[in-house]
Symmetry: D2
Subunit: 368 residues, 4 copies
């Protein structure tokens, strides 16, 4: 039995993680913390968790305030679903009380190899000494490292949608890094969190769509760092030389009128014109061991509806042909809360506990 706690369980990713863990017979929820709802029962705050005690369900589990000692003692793994800057204040305390506790941070604090990049976009880091302990939790790519780590930093939702389709090509060395990597992402509004802002109101989101943070979204440097790292690896350079490699990543997030999901359209140039079969082969080989990443036969079938609530990433591409021979469009679809946060966290937990990565995670997305 894995004893798990979720710190920050009442936001959209925290509550979906709680849902996903409730599906597991081998996981026991120790603590669900929430500043806002401390003292209330799960089903009181989220009627979707209503049920009867006889079921052995978790309807009656309470939200509690964060209690370092209690969480440390009674958890094998702690998930953090907090705003950036918060988990980094809490990790070291937990470790002092329970040196073996596994940490999966769904937030941003430990995603960067380069602290300077983090601090430029997020401000001073609260636990720089712990940063290098964390493995970047892009589970379908870095599974081998995650397996052997006590600490995983779950990627951001946009980076998950962008990196899963990009990294196979970058690692293979076929990307022409002299041309910008242009990433155009459409996100459901849950990405903005369960917060009381005008821009999150139904009447503002419905019947609309907009771009935002055109050049300055915090997920841009995260995407760029991981591409640069893969470029270095493909060039046979050690990671710490990656700073010498440049790639111009241009990223535009958009909000569309739907609750969940991210569709990412990417424009890249290859070093040389490659036939579709070669490109397909690169993806097929790269994700041969991954149960959750599928290459779709055409771009229309790569849509948000087909992946919501799931841990899947669907990828499709079309090469330009003719004058656009070296240009390729790649589209990916993920669920921002599932693959982009909570279910990827569960996949990381599986890896860190020696389970199959897909253990206890549904294979498909419900339809319609």
């Amino acid at each position: 039995m894995i004893k798990a706690s979720v710190v920050g369980a009442s936001g959209y990713s925290g509550i979906y993680l709680t849902y996903a863990l409730s599906l597991r017979e081998d996981v026991e929820l120790s603590f669900l913390t929430s500043q806002t709802y401390s003292g209330k029962k799960l089903a009181e705050v989220f009627p979707s968790f209503s049920g009867q005690p006889k079921n052995g369900g978790i309807s009656g589990l309470p939200f509690s305030a964060f209690d370092e000692a209690a969480v440390a003692e009674s958890s094998d793994v702690v998930f953090f679903c907090l705003p950036h800057g918060e988990s980094s204040k809490l990790v070291s305390g937990l470790l002092k009380k329970n040196g073996k506790i596994k940490i999966i941070d769904v937030g941003a604090d430990f995603r960067f190899d380069a602290l300077a990049a983090y601090e430029k976009f997020y401000g001073p880091h609260n636990a720089p000494e712990l940063n290098q302990n964390f493995v970047y939790g892009l589970a379908d790519v870095f599974g081998d490292k995650i397996k052997n780590s006590q600490f995983a930093a779950n990627p951001g939702c946009y980076p998950t949608g962008a990196l899963l389709p990009l990294l196979p090509l970058v690692f293979k060395g076929v990307l022409d890094s002299g041309f910008p990597v242009i990433i155009d992402s459409l996100s459901g509004i849950s990405g903005s969190g369960r917060s009381l802002k005008l821009q999150n109101l139904f009447c503002e989101v419905e019947n609309s769509a907009r771009a935002y943070n055109a050049w300055s979204h915090r997920h841009l440097p995260e995407i760029r760092e991981k591409i640069t790292g893969a470029l270095a690896a493909s060039a046979g350079l050690p990671d710490d030389k990656s700073a010498g490699l440049n790639v111009n990543v241009i990223f535009t997030p958009h909000v569309i009128p739907t609750p969940r999901g991210i569709l990412t359209t990417i424009y890249i140039r290859l070093k040389e014109d490659l036939p579709d079969s070669v490109i397909s082969g690169i993806f097929g080989e790269f994700y041969a061991g991954s149960p959750f990443v599928s290459l779709m036969g055409n771009i229309e079938d790569c849509n948000i509806k087909s992946v919501i609530y799931s841990n899947n990433c669907h990828i499709a591409f079309e090469a330009g042909g003719g004058e656009n021979g070296r240009m390729v469009k790649i589209v990916s679809a993920i669920d921002n809360i599932g693959k982009g946060a909570s279910l990827q966290a569960v996949q990381n937990m599986n890896l860190m506990f020696g389970l199959e990565p897909g253990y206890g995670i549904p294979l498909y997305s419900p339809f319609p």
Copy 2:
């Protein structure tokens, strides 16, 4: 291992049933039939089922034409998800080839005790001699009968949403049947099926809502028959006397701009003014053994979002107080495809195979 076939697997309820069965390790899908997509693989038609063969998933399973002999031989249970009038043509052939095969009809053909009522609304019945073999599959109410039956007729989606909150009060004998039972239901558009009609187009459904079939919806006589049967039971009359009991059921279905779910608001009059605690007690006692029906503390918490994709039914009520003392409003929320069709069918399968009713069915609805 239960070998199951789904006849009519490519409509909304058929495909969601397929999804629900794919979650089960103790169920093997033998045949998925579809006239429209025969010969295509599941994931080709529904990208939400995309996945990799190595997973042991069902992405590669083909849709096939209905083959009586093959289905009969290789199925322990057959689910029919067909337009009315179709399953009743097929059941007797299957039985001749496999007398032990269990049948769960998600369609309308065997829902009525009184053939005359069926024929008035649906036209001539194609297998009247089989009708009495079927138990009405309202699983949380008639579980004991279903357990012992080889044949279950899944209720309609609206009747499920209306009867679950009504029957406890009717069986208990507190309903004043001299006053109309007024049922006002709001359904997601998936209830209209995956069919090419103007009224199903996004641009017609979005930003709209409408009532339809104001006095003549086919689910009205189904609701009325089951209420009348419960009235008879509460009066200690045999079922076949129920025709002598009258209750005026008024039912108005509406379409609202959402894919799934039914919210039902019901207005009834009780024989006498009852305190809330007594009414709560009636529900609590009636559903004490049912994992899927919950009484909510207030009407606002009884909403579609909290039950979509689930097999749950949430119920809330408010008694009138003062001048309206005997009037009660009851609200229920279900997923029309989950509880109203496919997941209730799985619950029936569980019962018919001697399993716990909730075996392998998720307890909660995902949020958001």
Copy 3:
């Protein structure tokens, strides 16, 4: 040129009223007041008003704080779009400075004949001495009174949707008031205002629907008072005797996942069974002079999509037939912000300024 001011111009009804007035060449906007946005220009707050100064549009008009003297001096008519209890604090001051100023209150303060009913649901009234000066601004019914009044109290959105279909039958004396009038309304979420509440967030509203305020919505006593008044009139009684007439009105508001619109389904019993042609005739006669109320041929065509953004009310009915002979279902569709607030306010302005009621108001709703 009519000089008009909108007090509380930045809520949903205030801004739509501003939009509607901007279409008029005979109206000049004097003041748009907003506590929240005072000092900002219209187009800065609402990009939908962006435009170029050369057009003579109102993009550059500022929101300002409420200034009694300035508003009084430079307005022929003042519209109040404020939370209840606010306009009643301001009217008397304006009148002292400009005794001829016309007032159209889109809020609730002056809608009731009986102050006691108001105070029971809203709390103490701030200007009881002014209350009797206001005419109830249900423009298609009480147009004659409104024409001759300096003060109009715009009806609530739900009452507009409920009373327009009910009053013709009540005035005609065909309603059986011994049976409850059951009103089931579905509203777009804009009815909840542009306010930062969890229940207004996109992710809470989308894919959901719920009832609320089951027995206690503030629009219930408003509806009941106007029905009672019409009952009195139909019985030849003076208004002040209406308290002796009882009618049991049961009202349940629901929220559905759409920004605008109200669909109202009403269940009534008539004194006697009437043929459809007679009922149609009652509506036809009653609204013969009204450009905005239409009787639809069937209930399916009476939907929200067909009236959003308009001042129209579509009505359809179906009589029960047979055992339900005296029962009638009536459905109405309005735009909660248009007919239910801002455009009805413009219609009232037209009446109060001696114009045709439909002057400058578009006849149709845009599609799709």
Copy 4:
């Protein structure tokens, strides 16, 4: 009085054009043709047009079959809202019967200067001899030519959204045409027409988003031709030399779950790094005479909600700064049916009849 006919009035652009013309007191609708609904009245097919005859509205106007002689005789202007290849069969017949009749083709048949480009994407042209008579009806750019023409070819919806923000920079000569122009567009599903396809069903569109026609959308060559023409003009070359100028246009249309609107995000490189004020100045100068195109202060304010139902185009840009100095992102928002089809057609009509371009077209979009 302008006598206008709409050929193909029952599709989404045809019916919205009909709506827009119904707002005009100086326009009389002569014929509304529809193959599907011939013989039915407008309000029978579209309940949004319901109203009372006394209003002088168009509720009772019939749809009719196309009658060349009747249309020719009784129309000053004919609008075609037909699938491609259809209007080109009808124009020459109309002209023989009425040589002065003005034609505004909302369809694709006459949008191209180069017939070869048309034929490559659409197939053989049905009236090549008439093609050169048509002016490209991008009204805010080519108003001067349209004023003096009898024939206007309304641009496609995507080209309208892409060209309005691009052309000012191209004509000014600041675009670096050695870098691809990358255009990423999000469209409401009405762009797919009122046709019975699975992909248009509510349950397929809602909670989803997808790209389509990744390299081969028919609007791509239209966009490319007009950019190339502007490049030629900026270089002082005659139009017919434009074939010698190359620009690599990459275009990806997407469908998002909303009925109307197009948001276009464009990535370009400038010849040199320009300060924001210079870029703003280029737009300001270019559209100084246009009432409908506005430059927004920031990208978030440039959204679909703010322009739906309108003839407006909102534009915002952000220059890259630093390493991305010459890269610029431009976002535009239009209503695909309003600006992208029907209202731009009305603007063209205004121009062709010597009226102000904005005559009788609302300045703003309604909110919410």
